[in-house]
Subunit: 337 residues, 2 copies
Amino acid sequence: MVTLAQVARHAGVSPSTVSYVISGKRSISQDTRLRVERSIAELGYHPHAGARALASNRSNVIALMIPLRTDMFVPVMMEIAIAITTTARRYAHDVLLLTSEEGPSAVKRIAGSGLADAMILMDVELEDERIPLLRQTGAAAALIGLPADPTGLTCVDLDFEATGRLAADHLADLGHREVALIGAAESVYRRHTGFAERTLAGFRQQASARGLSYLHRPCGNGHEAASGTLSRILEERPHTTGFVVQNETALPHLLSQLRQSGRAVPEDVSVVAICPDDVALHSAPQLTSVSIPAQEMGRRAVELVMAQAAGQQTSGLTLLGPTLTVRESSGPAPQIS
Amino acid sequence: MVTLAQVARHAGVSPSTVSYVISGKRSISQDTRLRVERSIAELGYHPHAGARALASNRSNVIALMIPLRTDMFVPVMMEIAIAITTTARRYAHDVLLLTSEEGPSAVKRIAGSGLADAMILMDVELEDERIPLLRQTGAAAALIGLPADPTGLTCVDLDFEATGRLAADHLADLGHREVALIGAAESVYRRHTGFAERTLAGFRQQASARGLSYLHRPCGNGHEAASGTLSRILEERPHTTGFVVQNETALPHLLSQLRQSGRAVPEDVSVVAICPDDVALHSAPQLTSVSIPAQEMGRRAVELVMAQAAGQQTSGLTLLGPTLTVRESSGPAPQIS
DNA sequence: TTGAAAGCGCTAACAT
DNA sequence: ATGTTAGCGCTTTCAA
């Protein structure tokens, strides 16, 4: 291991000078800076992370807690995680990956060990057990998702209520009168992950406002679940012509099922998906969708915790406005024959 | 922050004693141990990670380098990452997440900064740029995947050649004579990620040995790509009755396309998937498949790097034997009419 | 079975 | 603009 002291010797300066060249915390003459930088490069020096953390009381690490669950759409989580990691690097930070397996005590461990100087929590539940600890330790943190009481917390999420409203509006605008929301797996609702319920609330509200009759059904993963849910909806309300789907894994099954049942998209029924853009683009037909801005959510979360670590107050909600992109899967409601 | 010194004072012992109680590196009287442990619990003490890393020259962190690519099946990556994280915790280690965005230099940074005491690399290419650095730094490391020259490296992977052979054998056993391998996206082959080519090699070898005529086609993501690939195969070889599919995202599209083209599975054509079990189970019909043992790969990788960090020599390949599970998608070849 | 004390490599006052 | 130096909290000899 190359140490700072070795660099100092090699460059013919004092250790502190090397430190200051690296941190830029005081002005250095052009000449010394160059000599030091050359020595660093020549020796292949990298500061020892532990020593730095010990001396500076900052670890330059962000802890990211991801869920273990299997009922969430994994690619979105991954995209957020990657956005967090690449954004963190821009702030010279690394990301420590924690799973919820360890439970709420992970929050204590991280806060207590100086392993990370900020945390980002994903898949936040309405009454999340980690939140009291977060409040108590006062650690810099951002949540991706919305708990029941976000007071004093920093949260980032898509505005799912507006998303539900937007989708309902789009279908109403196209003249649909009977619509259905095909949602996430039942387990998601049962554990009160906020996003599913918020979408439903927004959807209901706007469907009512626009005089639509609507139905809501959770939907599990897999072909079985998807086609079952769909056929039960169609049995109950055969004249349903508009579907909002908030379940990425069910989408291909749903589409193939609609085709099989002789309903053409978008001539007979319209489909609005709530999903990442690439899923919408890779479906046939390409889906009208409200996109999940995974990258931006990750980026924002990092920016917020970095601002906190720099001493700023950031508490409050960052609700990203939904955008609906019209593609091939939605069209005017069929004339009543 | 609670420090070890505070714990020592609280328990009425010396700092070193507290340290030894924690590490278990020397025997402590029942009495002292209990007092110290109570103090630790009472004060909510957690060792400072940086200080510990500095003093012990071990960070208790494993670095995990994941790819940024979008052409891999994300859930498998995620499952491996999670298995690595939970297994690491069993060794009292945490996981640092790095993306390949930073490039090969990330290897240098990690090795040089003491940030991690071992690394696990995913999505290894045949001529991976990170490998020379790995050899050069001599860092404890495990690769998930197989490079062209694994000499001196520790690698974990599914035995994809055996997988290809196994799939070909299964179809041959069922009497199929014309078969096709629908593979990963072309980009995967182009960049010479080993697994796709190894599957193909095994498949070819055994198909030849069993006297099958075979075809191989890469297949992109999305409905468009999947149905295009399938119809081109059927155009070229209309009597193809056996398919091996190594492309999780294409599977639902392929199945719905087969149905649409009037081919029943498994009566008219058989499908063998190479995919995680849950994907096989959530398809309709449930798929005969060779499973991707994501969890085991992650677990093994951690065990191997931990053994290395403990000074053992582990270099060599760990190729997990494939298992084929017969489900509903494969059956006897139809009689030639 | 326990204590005392010397660092680990860095940062950040405090000097000049 | 640069150097000196006192820790940061822990591990681990060396001593008892």
